[in-house]
Symmetry: C2
């Protein structure tokens, strides 16, 4: 049995969707959920599911962090639902924590309370994204806006370990997101990172351009958090905009309505495949524990899936594998300048 702490008050549709998602997830034999937040508000939304008695509990916390709140002041308050939820992991009372609330605060508090792994300079947000051939991992998706080459190198190692643990892969293809395939293309940080990555034992396949990202040309795509966040959101928005444009074109046809009815199941299945809520949040890599950041607009289904992902990540103890991977790398590459810079900076 794994216990997952859920920040019941975080997200645009909290606490309702968080509670419904928690109950859905708790129907899994392996999962127990602790809803952290204001008890009287939570009670208003509790579904009547007697069979899940004892599988979902409430941890009463009065205060909460607002979505748009300034991070530095938000993380100072001691009795917020987000902070308390993370503390449950810190104190060994839960195996993982997730929040759809203020993502900057979630990142900062996870970092502060759970700590970094040894050898990690900067934790990163890793998202699993759908593409033409299965999925790929994109990192950093927003934790670090200005990155040096050494940080990109760390992201590559963390992404490698994450992919291996998540998909049971042996040698995931690692690529740098840049503006040309040649090693000479890119900004200062990516050009330098290219050199560093070549010296590692990773399966580094070189640069990948924007046009290839969604074709499945790489398993792990590395970039700084500014670029990663923009790519992630452009993807989300563009999929939406394109479907709206296509629908508009279809609506203008005489045969459009009936044609649309005929392909509707395909559109539904397609939407499911590109829907972020199917993938259940992004894992914070480099933290000494399992902490998951969910989309602010998470639905109950997204929360349910995120709880399942959190359970999976906690069971596999991904954070320990990342730590081991970086330690082994340190041993293998002992004496190499670039990696020493990575490890001891």
């Amino acid at each position: 049995m794994l216990k997952i702490a859920v920040d019941a008050m975080g997200g645009d549709f909290a606490p309702e969707v968080n509670i419904l998602g928690a109950y859905d997830a708790a129907s899994d034999n392996e999962i127990e959920v602790i809803l952290v937040g204001k008890e009287d508000k939570i009670k208003d939304f509790l579904p009547e599911k007697k069979e899940l008695k004892g599988k979902v509990s409430i941890f009463n916390v009065e205060d909460q962090i607002r979505m748009d709140e300034n991070v530095s002041s938000a993380i100072r308050r001691k009795n917020t639902s987000m902070r308390r939820a993370i503390e449950l992991v810190k104190n060994g009372e839960a195996h993982a924590v997730l929040s759809a609330g203020n993502s900057g605060a979630m990142m900062a508090l996870s970092f502060l309370l759970l700590g970094k792994l040894p050898n990690v300079d900067r934790p990163a947000i890793a998202t699993v994204m759908p593409c033409l051939k299965g999925h790929f991992i994109l990192l950093d998706a927003g934790a670090n806006v200005d990155c040096k080459a050494e940080h990109l190198l760390q992201f590559a190692f963390m992404g490698d370990a994450y992919h291996k643990a998540l998909f049971n892969s042996t040698s995931p293809r690692i690529a740098l997101l840049s503006i040309g395939e040649e090693h000479s293309k890119g900004n200062e940080a990516t050009k330098e990172a290219y050199k560093l990555l070549q010296e590692t034992n990773l399966n580094f396949i070189g640069n990948i351009e924007g046009k290839d990202v969604f074709f499945g040309s790489a398993d792990v795509i590395v970039c700084d958090g500014f670029v990663g966040n923009i790519v992630l959101k452009v993807g989300e928005g563009l999929a939406d905009a394109l479907m709206k444009m296509l629908k508009r074109e279809i609506a203008e046809l005489i045969t459009g309505k009936i044609g649309y009815m005929m392909i509707k199941p395909a559109i539904k299945s397609f939407r499911k495949k590109v829907d972020y809520s199917e993938y259940g949040g992004a894992l914070l890599l480099g933290i000494n524990g399992t902490s998951i950041i969910c989309h602010g607009r998470s639905s109950a289904k997204a929360i349910k899936n995120a709880i399942k992902v959190a359970t999976e990540m906690a069971k596999k103890e991904i954070y320990k594998r990342i730590s081991e991977s970086l330690t082994i790398t340190e041993d293998i590459n002992e004496g190499k300048d670039s990696l020493n810079r990575l490890i001891y900076s």
Copy 2:
């Protein structure tokens, strides 16, 4: 009558598509095309269109720049088709130049031969992109990979002038591409640029996130060339990948085939709207002349459209308008520190 110099040897499908595109464009009364390249190679592909005699001429040049060639050595050779084509503009023998060849070389040579506008620190590539509500201009799309806030500010001024000239708009909405709407969100350069933009007389609407880019929330979107190039190519690739994914889903339905037939005209019309080749290349802003960079994979249609855009840009003398706009800005803001930095840096 406007004369457009076309680098006949540039692009993945040169010279054939360049020649066909040139002939198609030259059927316009206003347009005359000079095909610059190896005469005997060009002659192999000349269509028989006697009515266009005198409207398409050949300027024989023996050498050419390869697509993947190192820029710094490529631009040193004196007798390449790209260089000669640009020189025609420099010498007043053509009104505009375009190439689908090595874009780095095209940028560097345009810069070297035509020169920068006064008050411009760094020329930028501006692309016109389709979105849910019409079009928007994205810049920089790849000319400058590492930018300071002052450069982003210049891009905003150039994009503003370009939008006004291209769409006859009076007050285009200028946005900074970032990772959150609040001014405190972004990397160092965008946060600083936000402050500078607030001090200008531009219609600055603040930050725009990746998810809103294709919804038409801004008329001019400003970012550095690394981010811009990735967004541009992610857009291109994702539209392609999504249509392939959707088609795959449709193919799995029993009613899929007939449903697809019924909506096919809509898909065609949709594809046309999101097809880069409809928009005819990207304009180099900040150069003292009209120079257009076409997609390496340009089709004959793309070349034709690019020649038409080049004609339009040359006729409107966009580069002069940009120059005027920056000079007026200088007058209005005289004494303001941030703009002095822009102008005198």
